[in-house]
């Protein structure tokens, strides 16, 4: 278990950079794919934040006259069956996607860290019990688990976030647990115990902060798959309900029919999903290369 001192590393590499922008520029040069990913993610986040400024139409207002309108100067990406502007729906869809992606990743990581830390630090029967529980949660493929949860909770934004966070928990708990097992044996933990520090305090103050690097690596990796899972759930009609503009949902309504008649309704939401996930994946890979020395090549 080693933590990396980035400033020292950069100095040793002869980067000769300082400050936030200097470091960013250096990292961008060293990891060009990661920089491209960061840019995509930035665009994704900005789109979600400033959706109102980027669109002329309301994403949920229907207009029978522009039903299935082709892409034109008025509706640059066309309009759907109900006459809703596709550009607006895709821009506002970024909000849903980001909310579900971040919401479920944070929720899953929170419980994963809690379970992993407890199980790794305190061990014993608690560890045995949680490990079996994690086995059960991992016995189903991600989408099937999310489907089961979504079906049981019913379709809504909050429930979709919960449904997707459940399969993330065991992944996080496993990694945090194995890190904690190693950290528990560190001399500084022993020292803290020797001066009579409370076990809970040691776990939170001395062990938890050292699991942050693997956690960041894991969380960025989960973000992409959370966004993809939301799209799949909504595509199957078991995720975000109407009239919310979810990218996956946009592809579900008789998409196979629009393949013939209105291809713009199929192409654009798919591009949006793919770019968002591609960006997070590129960024995730770079973050892993930077923070996880074992994976360095």
């Amino acid at each position: 278990m080693a933590t990396i001192d980035h400033k020292a590393e950069l100095a040793r590499a002869g980067a000769g950079v300082s400050g936030f922008w200097g470091t960013s520029l250096h990292l961008a040069r060293r990891y060009p794919l990661g920089a491209a990913g960061a840019l995509l993610v930035l665009i994704f986040v900005l789109t979600a934040l400033f959706a109102g400024y980027l669109t002329a139409f309301d994403p949920t207002t229907t207009n029978p006259r522009s039903s299935l309108a082709r892409p034109s100067p008025e509706h640059i990406l066309g309009a759907d069956f109900m006459g809703r502007d596709m550009w607006s729906r895709i821009v506002y869809g970024a909000r849903i996607s980001l909310a579900v992606g971040i919401g479920s990743t944070v929720l899953g990581c929170f419980f994963g860290v809690f379970i992993g830390l407890m199980s790794g630090y305190f061990g014993g029967w608690l560890d045995l019990l949680t490990q079996r529980l994690m086995d059960i949660l991992q016995a189903l493929p991600l989408l099937v688990m999310a489907l089961l949860m979504a079906a049981s909770l019913g379709p809504s934004l909050t429930n979709t976030i919960i449904a997707i966070s459940i399969p993330i928990i065991p992944n996080v708990a496993r990694v945090i647990r194995s890190n904690t097992l190693a950290l528990r044996e560190m001399p500084y933990v022993e020292a803290a115990r020797a001066v009579g520090m409370d076990e809970w305090k040691i776990a939170v103050r001395h062990v938890l902060p050292n699991t942050v690097a693997p956690l960041i690596v894991l969380a960025t990796a989960q973000l992409g798959s959370a966004i993809l899972t939301e799209a799949s759930l909504s595509f199957l009609g078991l995720g975000i309900p109407e009239p919310h503009p979810s990218w996956g949902r946009m592809l579900s309504e008789s998409a196979a029919e629009y393949v013939r008649t209105a291809p713009w309704l199929v192409v654009f939401p798919g591009i949006a999903i793919s770019l968002a996930v591609f960006g997070t994946n590129l960024l995730g890979d770079a973050v892993r290369d930077i923070l996880d020395p074992r994976e360095r090549s």
Partner: protein, 315 residues
């Protein structure tokens, strides 16, 4: 090793037991059961009728009793009746399995066919232009939703042939079926091949750093021999385990792809059953998926122990 296997086997049974409880409880906390849905859609309001139907379906009994009767009947090969079609659940599920199995096998075949060689090339040519291109391709494979890829394939077919390759009637003959299945299998396999490619690459890179590779180079073995005789053989084992696990996890891609291509397999059937709250079908299908996943994992672990002499397990 025998003790390890037995312990691992018992853990597997325990996991499956826990899974069955989880599935059962999850499906019972759903607000509104099939009877409510039927009554809502039919506009019936007579509470006596409702009660009689609930009794008939056994929904009025305590949940523990319902669970026990599910498990004991399952042991006897009786999976109950579908609420929707009123046919035995077994007769609904069994005929749909072969088609999904064929689709999965084809997808897996494609993913190994492309994933392993491309991963090896990417590792051997690490940090060259080719490596970058292959890495971007594999990462995009992990980023494209497989249902969208399926829709794009359909679109391309419509554009250039005016014909949609979806499964409308029972295909005639082996070749037609193979053809109809290989298009969706390619859509599912693309993602899996991207994953296999990434793992092959990192596994290969790991091995290429080992001392025995340096030794092989030092004694004058050709690059080709080092890469393929010394490195690939050792790099392939972790990949095999992933291929095994991926086989069970393909189901996620199969669910959406069967929906897009209108293939009457078990994966699409699961989604339909969930929409209809058809508990007997959903709980048995999810259980089936859990059994397949857990058993495959178990077999992969066992294969690892047998294949890799470096691994020695105590008790």
């Amino acid at each position: 090793m025998g003790a390890y296997m037995i312990r691992r086997f018992l853990l597997m049974i325990l996991t499956l037991f826990g899974m069955s409880v989880l599935i059962f409880v999850m499906l019972r906390v759903v607000p509104g059961n099939i009877v409510d849905i039927l009554f809502d859609s039919a506009g019936m309001v007579n509470p006596d009728d409702k009660k009689r139907l609930e009794e008939e379906l056994g929904l009025d009994r305590p949940i523990v009793q319902q669970y026990v009767s599910w498990i004991t009947n399952m042991m006897k090969g009786d999976l109950g009746y579908s609420y929707v079609s009123e046919k035995p659940a077994l007769d609904e599920i069994l005929p749909r399995i072969p088609i999904t199995a064929k689709l999965a096998a084809l997808a897996l075949f494609f993913s190994v066919l492309f994933g392993v060689p491309l991963g090896v090339i990417s590792a051997v040519r690490q940090n060259t232009g080719l490596d970058y291109v292959l890495r971007v391709i594999s990462l995009s494979g992990l980023s494209l939703p497989s249902f969208w890829l399926g829709l794009l394939i359909l679109m391309a077919f419509v554009q250039y042939t005016g014909w949609i390759p979806i499964y409308s009637d029972e295909p005639r003959g082996f070749w037609q079926e193979l053809w109809l299945l290989s298009i969706p299998a390619a859509a599912v396999g693309f993602r899996a091949s991207a994953l296999i490619m990434r793992l092959t690459r990192s596994s290969m890179l790991e091995v290429l750093r080992q001392d025995y590779i340096r030794t092989a180079r030092a004694k004058g073995a050709t690059t080709r021999s080092v890469n393929y005789d010394h490195a690939l053989r050792n790099a392939v084992l972790p990949v095999v385990t992933i291929i095994g696990i991926e086989a069970a996890f393909l189901i996620g891609g199969l669910i959406v792809t069967e929906t897009v291509f209108n293939i009457p397999g078990v994966a699409r059937f699961l989604v339909e059953a969930i929409r209809w709250r058809d508990y007997p079908i959903v709980q048995n299908l999810v259980m089936l998926i859990a059994v397949v996943t857990v058993v495959v994992n178990f077999l992969v672990d066992m294969a690892y122990v047998v294949l890799d002499p470096r691994i020695k397990y105590e008790g």
